[in-house]
Amino acid sequence: MTKAAELAKMGEVITNSQIGGRRNIIINGSASVNQRGDSTGVTADGYYGPDRWAYKTEGEETVSISQASDGPDGFANSYKVEVTTADSTIAADDYARVETRLEGQNLQHLKYGASGAESITLSFYVKSSVTGTYALGFYSADGSRNIGSTYTISSANTWEYKTLTFAGDTSGTINDDNGEALRIWFLLSAGSNFTSSDNTSWAGYSDSRVAYGHTTNVIGTSSATWQITGVQLEVGEQATPFEHRSFGEELALCQRYYQKITGSDSIYVATTTEGISRINGMWTTTMRSTPTSTIDSGWNVANLNNMYQAYNSSGTSTFPNITADSEL
């Protein structure tokens, strides 16, 4: 690139305000936060391993999902899927993908539905034992529309950096609320029901537009791996360097959707004269919505989005483990 071209690109970046303020819309793009911990024996949809990333499958495979301690230079962690039992035959309606979901009130600056809808650029580092062409895409939940593209992994087990730019959706809509507005999915495998229709521009969702151009099958090979880190989504047509946030800052962002209170028998719980143990507490961060909880056996818990109340009629004095889930 010539010096003049570099300066022109820099000017475009500055004009789009990409280097001012917070740029990365993705939470936990570097997989640094892993509140739930690693999971083995995964066969169903759910959030496993690093926060904010979900595994979705219609296949027959079994995988492990973990926070891997490797990444490209500058990244200590990555989100890793490893196939432990392969699904060697991908049926037409099978798929496996990794996705993250974004809240509408955080995306109003994308201006979807207006003539000035902003382009967005997705950048990430990816590594897999399976080379080939992979599909990824965006699903706009409020208008049920989607767009997609592909990237290629050229060398097995080697970190590669990818950037893709997508047009803004001038016919879309993003509600200004706490619901899901945008979903980003990375396909690992896709049956023929999901690959047959061009999805390279925004249009109404259909299954056939999910994974256009996808040709690889990660879940078809036992011990196959797929890893991702440094995921950044930003306004504009240029990918800028990954916005590294402090661990505490990233953790707080994740806790809006999931948080975990670790119990302790060193922290005593007050018990009433009727023999009921009771705890009233505030969540570390106000949650996206009223969460679902788990709590140690013998306890009941009721929640608001900013506080919880737990009680145990057996009068235990040990503070319980509690989780709260308000993922999209």
Partner: protein, 57 residues
């Protein structure tokens, strides 16, 4: 999401149902009575299929 059972829970100062204790995918969850909660939405679908949320103890 496979729901095995569901039962209302009350607070312990009156008879108001405040949450649902449900076994979902083999795990016991405490689900708020909030239409925006994805687990409560699943419970309502489960009820629509003919299942019943048991009354609180």
């Amino acid at each position: 999401m496979t729901i095995i059972s569901a039962k209302y829970c009350r607070n312990n100062k009156d008879t108001t149902n405040i949450t649902i204790e449900a076994v979902v995918d083999g795990e016991t969850l405490f689900i708020p009575l909030d239409p925006d909660n994805k687990h409560y939405q699943a419970i309502l679908e489960w009820v629509a299929e003919g299942n019943t949320i048991a009354e609180a103890d």
